[in-house]
């Protein structure tokens, strides 16, 4: 490989590092006995939410503003990455009195 080949790779690494938050975190939100916990979470765009459903019931995490709608099968864990900033109230479509809030910083 000629030395010139490294340039684009270097550039990609540099800019890539700028675009993706270096400390994208994974946050766990659990449903137990029809309650989202923690009920209020502060996160950042690019963070991953691990939705852990400990119930025998199927739940959803559905944003009121339509930003996300995650299916949470019974006794399973699913993940989703947050792509939009904002204060998002979400609920379960199947059990509408399950409600919580995500504050997503840009």
């Amino acid at each position: 490989m000629r030395p010139g080949c490294y340039l684009p790779v270097m550039a990609a690494l540099l800019f890539g590092a700028i675009e993706v938050p270096a400390h994208a975190a994974t946050i766990q939100i659990t449903t137990t006995d029809l309650v989202f916990a923690p009920a209020e979470v502060s996160v950042k765009v690019g963070d991953t939410i691990e939705w852990i459903n400990k119930d025998v019931f199927v739940h959803t995490a559905t944003a009121r503003n339509g930003d996300f709608d995650v299916m949470m099968p019974a006794k399973k864990t699913v993940t989703s990455v947050l792509t939009k900033a904002g204060t998002v109230e979400y609920y379960c479509r199947y059990h509408p009195n399950m409600k919580a809030v995500l504050t997503i910083a840009p």
């Binding site: 006995d33 029809l34 019931f57 199927v58 019974a74 199947y94 509408p96 009195n97």
Partner: protein, 173 residues
């Protein structure tokens, strides 16, 4: 409104008196049978609603009833198997089943919006009755801790169903 209220009271008193009629508090095998029967009744009603309901909220509600009550009943079956308990038929279960069969036949005769309203009104009344029985009779009477905990989970989800049914009923007006 009056019809709905009286239906609720009738459902409540039938369930209440059936449980009380036994005098002594129900045993765990009886409680398991009552809880399971109550679930089966709601699943059967919901399956009828999935077939008959015209309103999409009513249909979605009914699908939720099948999904949740089947989940609870599966838990109940797993638990009785684990505890080596055989659910025992009893007067409360019999009264519940009889009353439910009558209600199902009554609802079968209705159509369209009339059916939707009657189904949802009955769901409100039925969940209210079951929740009352769980709170005042079944949960306090259960002696096994795991059974008690399952009934408590049941109560929590059925209270949610009752509220959900009330929301759907309000939208149908």
């Amino acid at each position: 409104m009056f019809v709905r209220l009286s239906a609720a009271i009738a459902a409540l008193s039938i369930l209440g008196s059936a449980v009380l009629a036994q005098g002594a508090k129900p045993t765990d095998p009886q409680i398991a049978h009552i809880a399971y029967t109550a679930g089966v009744i709601d699943i059967t009603a919901a399956k009828q609603a999935i077939e008959k309901a015209g309103n999409k909220d009513v249909k979605a509600f009914a699908q939720g009833m099948v999904r949740d009550h089947e989940a609870v009943n599966k838990q109940a079956l797993d638990l009785v198997k684990k505890l080596n308990v055989t659910p025992e038929d009893n007067d409360t279960s019999k009264t519940l089943s009889k009353q439910a069969a009558d209600k199902l036949a009554e609802l079968a005769k209705l159509k369209g919006a009339e059916y939707d309203k009657a189904y949802v009104a009955n769901e409100v009344a039925y969940h209210k009755a079951v929740n009352g029985a769980l709170e005042t009779q079944l949960i306090p009477s259960a002696s096994n801790a795991e059974l008690k905990s399952l009934l408590q989970t049941g109560l929590k989800i059925f209270q949610g169903h009752q509220q959900h049914a009330e929301q759907v009923a309000a939208k149908l007006k």
